[in-house]
Structure formats: C-alpha cells, structure tokens
C-alpha cells in the first residue's frame, strides 16, 4: 500500500488537487483565502528554487530578486506605459530571463560559498535599484498596480484570484514533476551528483546549470507579475534578502530535491507565523526553535525524511531516495 503511494506520482497529485479544490469551501473568510494564496505563491517560488538548489545543487540566496523583477516589470510597464497586463508579464519574464542568462553565465562558474555570495549580491542589487529608482518604482514606499485583465476577464477579490494561483500551483507541480522524471531532469540531478560523471556522459554541465537558472528565474518572474496584480501593490521588500532566505528555508525545510517538500515548506512558512502571532514577543523565538528542531530531527527535510521512514520495511530509519 504505502509503496504504491510512495512510488507513483498520481496519489500525491490527486491529494494536492483535492485539497486545493476543497479549500475555498472550508476557509471562512477572505483573510484565510489570502493566506492560502500566499502559500501557493511561496510553494511555486519554492519549487522553482528547488529545481535549481535541490535538484541541480546550485544555491541561490537572491532568488526573490527575480520575483521582484517580474513584479516591478509588470507594475512599471502597466502603470507608466499603459502596456496590457499580459504583454507586460511576458516582457518582464523575457527581461528577467535575459538578466538571469547574463548573470548565470558569469556566476554559475562559481561553486558553494562563492555562488552563495554572488547570488546574495544579485538579490541585494535588485532591491537597491528598486528602492533608488524612485521616479519609476516609487522608491521605498513602492507603487500601486492595476488589476490583471485577460480576454476581458479581470480577477478581483481573493476568491477569484485563488483559482488563478491554484491552477498555477497544480500546473507547476505537474510540469516540475515531468521535468524531474525526464532525461533533462536526470541530467540536472546527475551534474549535482557528479559534474565529472555528467560531463563524461555528454552532459554540457555549464549550459545545463545556466538553463535551469534561467528557467527558475523566469518562473519566479511570472509569479512576481501575477502577485503584483493580485496585491495591487509592490514594494522593494518583496525582492529583498528576507524573502530570498524564506525561499531557501522552504526548500531546505520541506526537503531538497522534493517537489511536495516545497509545497509543504510553503504551508509551514505560511501558517506558522499566523499561529505564532498570538504569542507576541515569543513568536520569533518559537519560530527559530521549530526550524532548528526540524533540521535536527528531519535533516533531509520533512517530506524526504517522512517518505524514507514510510518506505523502510521495519519503519526504522530508511535510506530511500527523496520522492
């Protein structure tokens, strides 16, 4: 039973779909729907980063920068230039892809701590630019963003936007899972395991790293665009260091190289602050303790640790691969 559940992709997808479909009926008011939307946004961003970090083994501490580029690209193009929202989204995504390609070519030569520093710098540069170019971006105060109209339909209110992000989340899970199970995804994981072995097998290690970096950045940019329209507002904080760190926590806590791990990590990062908000003054301490405990007891991340445990025949610690 459990092995059927753990080895097939369909049960996980069915569960996710059912939860996503059922949530609006369960959530009592718009506040909770907004929390659900924020979780979906974190989950999609987490999956994008996980492709780069968990599967390909390339760290990024500045990933929110790409999210910010998408968000501000759409904000500026629609507000200042009257560009239609869809066109602005595509233009911002293309712009971000070009930036990611240029930056990736240079920094993906680096490894480990050096790559971490370079991506950290990239994220910081993006937030500084967004803060300083006040004439375009509204500076530290941010700027308002109009709704998103596509084919005459403008989602408004949390309950309509919910479906936009729900479809996006399920779609991202499916596409990411497809990619991981394909020869291309295997190549990414191979170069994570051994760059030498990958290269000798004919995998263009550097090109593959750049490609997944661009893909990951572009997904975040598209998500940033939609988030800007949903929020009706952008500020430089959403491209900031804290946001980038939050994404890294989602990937590591949920589980490196686990798609559902990122979904789970996003749920924790979305829900925990709400739960802890009642314990004012202690919330950040409790948050820190929970994070530390999770890493001590579930070092490979929640989802891979649990699947390994379920997989092991005698329910002791198993060595199964992350799903």
């Amino acid at each position: 039973m459990t092995s059927l559940f753990l080895n097939s992709r369909w049960p996980g997808l069915a569960l996710l779909t059912v939860v996503v479909m059922a949530l609006p009926a369960i959530l009592p008011n718009a506040f909770y729907v907004d929390v659900a939307i924020r979780i979906a946004i974190l989950a999609i961003n987490g999956i994008a980063l996980n492709l780069l970090m968990g599967y390909t083994g390339q760290i990024s501490l500045g990933h929110a920068g790409f999210f910010g580029l998408g968000a501000y690209g759409s904000a500026v193009l629609t507000s200042h230039f009257g560009v239609p929202a869809l066109l602005a989204l595509l233009a911002s995504a293309a712009f971000t892809a070009v930036i990611a390609y240029g930056v990736g070519r240079v920094i993906l030569r680096l490894r480990g701590h050096y790559l971490a520093m370079a991506t950290l710098g990239l994220g910081i540069i993006v937030s500084i630019v967004l803060t300083n170019e006040a004439a375009w971006t509204g500076g530290p105060d941010g700027m308002a963003v109009d709704g998103f109209t596509l084919f005459g339909f403008t989602p408004s209110g949390e309950r309509q936007w919910y479906w936009v992000f729900a479809v996006l989340l399920v779609g991202t899970v499916v596409l990411a899972q497809n990619l991981i199970d394909s020869p291309a995804g295997r190549a990414l994981q191979a170069l994570h395991g051994s760059e030498t072995a990958a290269a000798v097998a004919g995998i263009s290690v550097r090109q593959r790293k750049i490609a997944v970096f661009v893909l990951s950045a572009t997904v975040s940019a598209v998500l940033g665009s939609l988030t800007a329209h949903y929020s009706g507002y952008v500020n430089p904080g959403l491209a900031g260091f804290l946001q980038s760190v939050e994404l890294v926590i989602i990937v590591v806590l949920g589980g490196m190289a686990s798609i559902y791990g990122s979904v789970f990590g996003a749920v924790i990062m979305g829900v925990l602050p709400q739960v802890l908000a009642g314990y004012e003054g202690w919330d950040s301490v409790a948050f820190g303790v929970i994070m530390a405990a999770a890493m001590i007891f579930l070092p490979r991340g929640v989802v891979p640790s649990l699947t390994a445990w379920l997989r092991s025949p005698n329910r002791r610690r198993g060595e199964g691969a992350a799903c």
């Binding site: 596409l175 497809n178 020869p183 291309a184 191979a190 000798v200 995998i203 893909l215």
Partner: protein
C-alpha cells in the same frame, strides 16, 4: 583508433605525464600499467578531456582532440570509468546507468516538462536497456537499489554499465578490479574480453598482472610519467627495463 604523440602534463612543478607517445589499434584491449603515481589516471584524464595537455597531440579517429571538452568527446564515442568512483549518489542505481545514455535521448527541458510524444517510450526503453547492462556487468541484483546504498564492488560495476550505456567506440577503465576479490576480478576479465570481442576498443589501467597479461593485446608501461616500454604481453614480460623497474621490484598484490 587513438594516437597519442609527445603528450605532457605538468601540475606546477610536477610532470605527471612526460613526452608519452603510443598508438591504440581499433578493437583491441590496451592496458596501461605502472606503479602508483606513474601518471596513468592523468593520462586517462588528458585523453577524456578532463585535463588540458601542457603539450602534445591526441588524435582520435584522425581528429585532433587534445583539449576538447569531455561532453564533445562523449559525442564522438568516448566513455570511461573512474578509479575514485564518480557515482551520482542522489540518483538510483539504474538512473546512474541511464545518465550514461544521455546522448541517446531527447534531453530538452521543455520536451521533458511537456512530455514530448515518444519521450516516455524512449525513456522506458532506455531503462530496460540499463537493467540489461547492469545484469551484463554483474550488478543486476541492484536494479532497484539506490546508488547510495550499494557496496563498493557493485559501484565499480555500475560505473562500467554507465560507461557502456552510451554505446561507445572506445572505453577507458581505470582500475576496474581494484578492491575486488579473485572471483570478481575474473568476472571483470571475462567482461573485458567479451567487450573487445564485440568490437569495442577497451583501454584498461589495472594493477592485477594476471588480468592484464590475459586480456591485453598490447601494454603500455609508465614510470614517473614517462613511457618505459610498450608492446605485446610477451614483450613486456621479458623487457629488462620493466623487470628492473616494476615487475622485478616487490611483487604487485592482486
């Protein structure tokens, strides 16, 4: 098939390979022997594109390949294993073998994301073939295992399966029998002989003299980065330089 001329590689002041020349005929088992530190692995790394030569030429099927990137050499039909294993421990055993077949599959990211027609079928065929290869090299028992959970000896065989998955023209094996027992070493010997019989050119670095003498068509002896001797097993066995410098010294352990 492969001609190396005046090949040298320096690491700072260390001359790991010095002015080495030899020719590997197609379809033969060619062995490279020599004491530890003689430059055998460096020679493999130079030929397979992991190191750029300091000087010299490497011609593969009449094309100069010195300094060419490993992924391009793979495309030309070169494949290898590693003395210090290069296993992807984040993948399952069979996926490691499938990585070897990378060039035979459509590895476009978008094709993967959108399940390009035919891709699933090709990938399943690749998986089946990978399982066959694992069977053939003698690690069929680990078809469902994670690479991280496999013992050393099985991983050595897994590397051979991965190297074969690309259907290479020339295969380099760096100490395939190191750490294996008598029976296992004999299985490797049989495998190498079989591969050569099927038309593959196999280049082997190995310390086990019995294996080397049994399977090799020709042998290259390296010593301190230099070519000490080259010839048929009989010529090498009776070569006074080789006896003095290598075979004569303390006898090689199996």
């Amino acid at each position: 098939m492969l001609t190396v001329a005046n090949l040298s590689k320096a690491f700072g002041g260390v001359l790991a390979v010095q002015d080495v020349s030899f020719h590997i005929p197609a379809g033969c088992v060619y062995s490279v022997i020599g004491p530890n530190g003689a430059g055998k692995t460096t020679l493999f790394n130079l030929i397979s594109g992991l190191y750029t030569p300091t000087s010299g030429s490497i011609r593969f099927e009449d094309r100069e390949i010195a300094g060419m990137a490993p992924e391009r050499l793979a495309r030309r039909g070169m494949s290898r294993t590693f003395q210090n294993l290069q296993i992807c421990r984040n993948l399952s055993a069979i996926e490691n073998v499938m990585v070897g077949a990378h060039l035979t599959l459509n590895a476009n990211m978008f094709a993967g994301m959108f399940r390009w027609p035919g891709l699933g079928r090709a990938d399943r065929a690749c998986r089946a073939r990978a399982a066959d290869l694992m069977e053939r090299v003698g690690c069929g028992a680990f078809v469902r295992a994670d690479a991280a959970a496999m013992p050393y000896g099985a991983l050595k065989r897994l590397e051979i399966a991965r190297a074969l998955a690309s259907d290479p023209k020339i295969l380099f094996l760096d100490e395939p029998a190191a750490g294996l027992n008598h029976t296992e070493t004999h299985e490797i010997e049989t495998l190498v002989a079989d591969l050569a019989r099927s038309g593959l050119t196999v280049v082997v670095v190995e310390h086990d003299m019995k294996l080397v003498m049994n399977v090799s068509g020709r042998i290259l002896v390296l010593n301190y980065g230099r070519k000490l001797a080259e010839g048929t097993p009989d010529e090498i066995r009776t070569n006074p330089d080789v006896i003095a410098a290598y075979l004569g010294g303390d006898d090689e352990e199996e």
